[in-house]
Symmetry: C2
């Protein structure tokens, strides 16, 4: 969780992409092998229930990875599109079941590469950068149908803050994800106020904030932000 000695912000942004490209295979195994306890216990169901509670007809999962959430939505008769920068994950997603998938990075989405709108746009633990995320968020209003919502699940700032409660780059870790991972990328920590400022800067307005709790220790495992066009 050290914040000193990290490279420049643009280097950190690139490292996030490089790291996901390099670790696609262990990630696939981690998700499909149900290795990550917090996902199995809490956060998979939390994001699925939050999306489904809105009864969307269409959904876009940005940073979909190997596609489990798109498959879960598609099996509930939601027309779901998964988008990820890592083609190896997108190809694995296409082979695994229903749902549509596209290989696009966030810069491309921010630049307008997606030409369809959806009732729900979901980012499930997939907003890891600073300016790359702000750029992506600014594209969201143009991707939502009237009345649609952005639904973001992220680490809860309370449990993820480490020693400093301040927006900034932090050293990453694959701890808890199982075996086979190489080096981890930095990630950009956002305070609660930081998340709200980023949403606001993108023309989005928070409408709901959920804090799924750990069934054993009662602490908040994640935070789910639901936002609409302001």
């Amino acid at each position: 969780m050290a914040t000193v000695g990290l490279p420049h912000s643009s280097t950190c942004e690139q490292a996030i992409l490089d790291t996901w490209h390099a670790n696609a295979v262990p990630w696939l195994h981690a998700v499909r092998g149900q290795t990550i306890a917090s996902r199995v216990l809490v956060t998979d169901r939390a994001i699925l229930e939050t999306v489904c509670a809105r009864h969307p007809r269409t959904a876009i999962d940005l940073g979909c990875g190997e596609g489990w959430l798109v498959r879960a939505l598609a099996s509930r008769h939601i027309d779901a599109l998964g988008v990820d920068a890592v083609d190896a994950l997108v190809q694995a997603a296409k082979r695994a079941g229903p749902g549509r998938f596209l290989t696009l990075d966030y810069a491309a989405v921010a630049a307008g590469a997606l030409t369809e709108r959806a009732d729900a746009i979901v980012c499930n633990f997939s907003l890891l950068g600073d300016t790359s995320v702000n750029g992506l968020l600014r594209a969201i209003p143009g991707l939502l149908t009237a009345g649609g919502a952005l639904i973001v699940q992220t680490l809860h700032p309370l449990t993820a803050m480490g020693s400093t409660y301040r927006d900034g780059w932090r050293e990453g870790s694959w701890s808890g994800c199982g075996d086979g991972f190489g080096s981890a990328a930095p990630w950009y920590f956002r305070t609660i106020g930081g998340w709200l400022a980023s949403l606001s800067g993108a023309g989005l307005q928070l409408t709901q904030l959920l804090e799924p709790l750990h069934p054993h220790d009662g602490g908040p495992v994640s935070m789910i932000l639901v936002a609409r066009v302001a």
Copy 2:
């Protein structure tokens, strides 16, 4: 911070009022003697700056206590009304300087006893109950001018949560407030999601969330919620 053994919710609500009546004098000394370090270092200025940044013409301070914030706003040419349930504090406020003051409890405000509207309605560490607070919040839309805002400063859930991150009654304490206090009342802990649900249930929509930090340890000292009519 124990949550077991607390009396019934309505008893807790009454205990809050009883305790403030019983501790008006030491509270007056604590505030006027600048005894509470977090107020002096961080939160007094934070609430004042947040209110003033909106350039309100009129303000109502609900749970104004001995009136320091009303005086600070009045000295900045804001027509400020302070409201508190404890007449001893209201009388002390009236004697101390400019601003208008009324003795009313939250049940009375919730029932429509206030007949004026304001550009800013402020609750500075004054929302301590459960249903009493929800009742008060439901009255806020009727007290705001068009474009007006509710501004709530409260303990930051991250630092105030104790061992359980779950909405509920907690045992209180006057720790850090100086000498002369009797027993403390329970208070109702709200998670961040709990605060947002209470605002939403009152027809209010969060527009800004600020997290003033401690200048020494960098941790969040308080949380300021800014909301408008939804």
